[in-house]
Symmetry: C2
Subunit: 356 residues, 2 copies
């Protein structure tokens, strides 16, 4: 099945459902595992990587969790398509630069996938819409439990699961949420919050993970420690932290709504007007406009758009998605025009649909 | 009849009709006259000004040209109302600061008025939509001819009509057009044009005349010389100049349309989106947005709005108009909100009307 079929539907985890979905776009669990008798990916020669790939793929094939899935050999996938997969958060940037002997198994609803020969031999990723860390953890764990008997994982009694980078040692678990914090950003409270989170051993980053810019007030909030804390405690701690941040964000939104109502309304509706009418828009501006409109939907100012539509737009306005939709490569200027077209049509359709 | 009744309809000269009305909003003729036996306004004591006012008003009363008109004694008119009249281009800024013994006679369609005791004893002003200088001159001259037999005008065989300021000496005639030049401004050709016009003894100024900023790419283009050239030649010269400028503007618009189409479309539609949705907008920004949308209507990109609607908006979004509509004084911040409301409603009504 060609990759471009994936264009037809967005990942399940964007559908705007789940707890606190106004503020939390999605929850993600990532589990890192390595095969006991193999060298880590960055140290392994090609034939060893090929063996890991073959072995892991066969094992994945036997699982119920990935029964209804597609397999993508990165070596046979174009750079544009790999970019497309990265935009869907299915593969990491690692896969953009290294494709030989790398593979991805992803289920049809895109809430579970397995990267093979990323930084670790196996990276299980599970996604869920809203604040649903436990649900995503359950999905990821089911696959982990099905793979374990088939593939002997590198494990030490003292350290737990062994990983290529010591920051993942122990549980190999990274739990994260994609969180939208326009209230805290506008209220200028975000820097204080980021500092506190870091002190409390949580990390907060831009939309596309490590080293990426914060755009549109979207952040990834995740645990930093993986060693010495059981999985359920890591997840409970993160959840507790996220619930606190949600509380701060809600308070900041209420302040905006009550103390700067007309400023807020103006900001939100200007963004709506620009999204609905502009003919050329950069990624960065689009994210910022979508952020403002998403806030407007969240506080009830805009009623003819859903959180789901906006979440999906966040993915489809990205460069590789636009080019896959168009069916051919486009220069940045052409993409800006295509992006504006897509946004306009999506919002107009959504508005008409709501009016029905 | 209270001044606020004037709010109900805009001046006739805004109706978007007449020659070249896409580019020329309106034509205006102003004729300065003084009474022979009286000192100029700035030199006359109060009782003399009162006599000029009484004499001129009675004379105006006898004319057919001002038969269907209202008389406003500036001394009995509030500062806000005088600002309102200035926004309608019926009185000059002179009347904002001096109101005692000043008067205005204005006909019901607001295409002819007479200021009494402005810089000169009499200032006849006639307006017409589009490039219709001859029509406006005819209207003004009819009143001039009706007043002349009743009021002996200060006149010298050598200089012609005597005026308080030597720049108006001779014919006392100032002919001007309100012209919209977004193409030339965007194409950066405007400064070259302004220099040439000055060399050719024409003056070009901002929307509200002498000393006002250029906003929204709206300009007033008028003759500088009043002495030694007959009225019909002054008007023919100005017309010739205006026709040339229109040609330049058209060429600049075509360049934009053909060489930077997507940039132009984006600019125009962004302005439309902001006008249609923003909740707070300053005068300056509104003028700039209306200018872009007016260009969009002119080049056929926007079809659900008329030049007339936009011309009228230019007048109604002004501070005194907004406060008269609201029925009470407003702070600048409140005016920005009221301005955005008015624009939004006007554009939505117009769009619905066009869709019918």
């Amino acid at each position: 099945m060609p990759i471009k079929d994936m264009l037809k539907t967005p990942g399940q985890w964007l559908n705007g459902s789940g707890e606190e979905s106004e503020i939390i776009l999605s929850s993600r669990i990532r589990i890192a595992r390595n095969l006991e008798t193999r060298r880590f990916t960055h140290n392994a020669p090609n034939e060893e990587l090929a063996a890991v790939l073959e072995q892991s793929r066969s094992a994945a094939n036997e699982t119920a969790a990935l029964k209804d899935s597609r397999y993508l050999d990165m070596g046979g996938v174009s750079t544009l398509e790999r970019q497309f997969l990265a935009e869907r958060h299915l593969v990491s940037r690692e896969f953009l630069f290294n494709s030989s002997n790398r593979g991805l198994v992803v289920n049809m609803s895109e809430d579970l996938c397995l990267m093979i020969n990323e930084e670790d031999h196996l990276r299980i990723q599970a996604y869920s819409s809203g604040l649903e860390l436990a649900k995503a953890f359950e999905t990821a764990s089911r696959l982990d439990a099905e793979l374990a008997p088939q593939l002997k994982f590198a494990y030490s009694e003292r350290f737990g699961y062994l990983t290529a980078c010591p920051t993942n040692l122990g549980t190999g678990l990274r739990a994260s949420v994609l969180i939208h914090l326009p209230g805290l950003v506008h209220g200028k409270e975000i820097h204080k919050l980021l500092d506190s989170l870091r002190q409390l051993h949580h990390s907060i980053r831009g939309l596309y993970g490590e080293g990426t810019d914060v755009m549109g007030n979207f952040f990834q909030l995740s645990n930093s420690a993986t060693l010495g804390t059981p999985e359920n405690v890591i997840i409970a701690n993160l959840r507790e932290m996220v619930v606190k941040v949600i509380g701060f964000e809600r308070r900041a939104r209420e302040m905006l709504f009550h103390k700067a109502r007309s400023l807020l309304e103006d900001k939100v509706w200007r963004a709506y007007g620009l999204l609905r009418h502009s003919r050329s828009v950069s990624s960065k501006e689009a994210l910022s406009l979508i952020s403002a409109v998403r806030l407007g939907v969240g506080v009830g100012l805009i009623r003819d758009l859903s959180t789901r539509t906006l979440n999906e737009l966040l993915v489809y306005i990205q460069p590789a998605h636009l080019q896959m939709l168009e069916g051919e490569p486009m220069e940045p200027g052409e993409r800006d025009v295509a992006r504006a077209d897509l946004i306009r049509k999506t919002i107009a359709d959504s508005a008409n649909h709501q009016e029905d």
